[in-house]
């Protein structure tokens, strides 16, 4: 698997299990406009992994990935795989699809997720099992990448069910 990342080689966290890929035809999504800074994130996501940036100088995690660390400013970040476990920092439930492409998806929830490894590092994604009720801040979620086309995998999350919480 690490070989798929080409020039990035082996990443810290490569031993973490990849997340189950949601192969869904029922969710709308667009192709991301990938740039030089974001290749590791999107390649990792296609493998079922959440790749953020880690600063070699201060150790902080950050997202979106940038060459320099937004905490200390040092040009010392490298791609870093995290568990994909996190908690709800904030959320919205979209009812009006201002991008008409999503008209069939509403209502749907977008989450801002704090990563377990560094709660100040936050990732945005679609919630794939919306309970339809107000969400609790701090609710436990896990990465669930979802495929909307053969070559498009997007960041999603699932809320832990009560049964999973009990375990």
């Amino acid at each position: 698997m690490p070989g798929h990342l080409g020039c990035h080689g082996r990443r810290l966290g490569d031993d973490l299990p990849a997340r189950l890929m949601i192969e869904s035809a029922n969710i709308t999504g667009h192709a991301p406009d990938i740039d030089e800074d974001s290749v590791p994130f999107w390649e990792g996501l296609a493998e079922g992994r959440l790749v953020v940036a880690r600063c070699g100088a201060c150790g902080r995690l950050s997202f979106p990935p940038t060459a320099s660390c937004p905490s200390c400013g040092k040009p010392a970040t490298t791609p870093h795989i995290v568990s994909g476990q996190g908690s709800v920092y904030s959320w919205i439930r979209v009812h009006a699809a201002l991008d008409p492409a999503f008209a069939n998806d509403v209502p749907y929830v977008i989450l801002t997720v704090s990563l377990d490894e560094d709660p100040d590092a936050r990732v945005t994604g679609r919630l794939l099992n919306d309970p339809g009720t107000p969400l609790e801040a701090g609710a436990v979620v896990r990465l669930a990448p979802y495929r909307v086309a053969e070559d498009i995998v997007l960041p999603g999350f699932t809320l832990n069910t009560p049964a999973e919480e009990a375990r």
């Binding site: 800074d37 201002l98 991008d99 977008i110």
Partner: protein, 396 residues
């Protein structure tokens, strides 16, 4: 409440107290203007020049701001207005964070002698043309937003508002109180598009855009233009209108402001916005504290920024903004009248230029039916996310 922060102590910038807004100009605000953006821009600028009592030959500086290439350049306005010779022009592409910053720039240009009389304008066909609320634009973080259906301003601000509600205990009724209070003001403002009274039941039953925002939490997009004329206080005193003295000003790009104007990922605390970051600098620049403001025109692309800003600038204590509005303290006869024109929510989304102009109108005492009795000092803010600006006007 606001407390001085000695670590950030800075001198009062020298343009403050020495410059003023001497005139304002508006076009009609509508849902579909028959005029071009250029004509709207020119008409508002001409109106501001005439309001001040100046002639086109007196104008030597123009500043504009835009978003998504939705406006015209300063040189276009200079050409159509037949301005003989600009010594200063600045086209800013920063949207609603700009108005107070643009007027700061005009005042700085005047105060150092680069220009004498500077127009600042905002013109757009925000309803019949490019609608910012739903527009997608090339930006570093667009790739993390548009593909997943997270691609519009109401969504980003809703994400901040939700966290604000989580952390401060603000409720849906608190957001509603802002919308309801501003309708009362808009009823007294002929320029406002939303003038009908709003009840709490109507607010709560209005369709969702994105929870926690209903349609009535969101500004109403319009076609139109607004301009102000900035000059020296000395010049302003000889002109037609009482000077609105520029007496305090601040800008902040808060730490972790984001990679583009829609990016929240790096913003450390979603229960705060730029006005928390610039509060200390603003009050220091003006030499007053938040208790000494008579009227406040707060940037309100949505209801929530009013609550954020009241708390961020220390106008109320942490967690107190909702009850402050619900208890009527932001009414025209309240302790701190807020958004006397109805705000962007009701007057229309001219990206805050109209918010700043309303502040000028209030300290000039020209608010007509919506004039606040004692409006010696007025606060104006611009922006509602990680960066923004603010200004204090004092009656001259």
């Amino acid at each position: 409440m606001w407390k001085p922060n000695s670590r950030n102590s800075i001198e009062r910038p020298s343009f403050l107290g020495a410059t003023a807004v001497a005139g304002v100009g508006f076009t009609d605000f509508s849902k579909a203007s028959p005029h071009s953006v250029l004509r709207l821009a020119v008409d508002s600028c001409r109106a501001a020049i005439e309001d001040a009592g100046l002639a086109r030959e007196d104008i030597d500086g123009v500043i504009s701001y835009s978003l998504f290439n939705d406006s015209v350049a300063c040189q276009a306005v200079a050409t159509e207005l037949a301005l003989p010779d600009l010594t200063y022009a600045l086209d800013m592409n920063m949207g609603g964070v700009s108005p107070a910053l643009a007027v700061m720039n005009a005042a700085m240009a005047v105060s150092v002698g680069v220009a004498r009389n500077v127009l600042v304008f905002r013109a757009l066909k925000g309803r019949s043309g490019v609608r910012v609320g739903a527009a997608q634009f090339r930006a570093p973080t667009g790739q993390y937003r548009y593909p997943i259906g997270y691609g519009a301003y109401p969504y980003y601000m809703a994400m901040l508002a939700r966290r604000f509600m989580i952390d401060t205990g603000a409720t849906e009724e608190d957001l509603g109180a802002v919308a309801i209070a501003q309708r009362v003001h808009a009823a007294r403002n002929e320029r406002a598009l939303r003038r009908a009274p709003l009840t709490l039941d109507e607010y709560l039953e209005a369709p969702w855009v994105a929870e926690p925002f209903h349609t009535v939490d969101c500004t109403t997009e319009i076609d139109g233009a607004c301009a102000v004329l900035v000059t020296s206080l000395e010049t302003a005193r000889a002109l037609l209108q009482p000077p609105a003295v520029i007496d305090g000003a601040a800008w902040a790009t808060g730490f972790g402001s984001g990679l583009d104007i829609a990016d929240l990922h790096s913003w450390p605390d979603y229960a705060t916005i730029c006005h928390h970051a610039l509060a200390d600098r603003l009050w220091r620049s003006a030499g007053i504290g938040p208790g000494q403001v008579d009227v406040a025109e707060l940037y309100d692309c949505f209801t929530a920024p009013v609550l954020f800003t009241l708390e961020g600038l220390g106008l109320v204590g942490p967690g107190e903004s909702g009850s402050f509005v619900r208890d009527g303290h932001t009414a025209l006869d309240g302790r701190l009248p807020v958004n006397t024109h109805g705000g962007l929510l009701c007057e229309g989304y001219l990206h805050g230029m109209n918010t700043l102009a309303e502040g000028v109108i209030q300290v000039q005492g020209r608010g007509g039916e919506r004039q606040v009795d004692r409006a010696e000092t007025c606060l104006v803010t611009s922006g509602a996310m990680g960066d923004g600006s603010a200004m204090i006007f004092r009656r001259g």
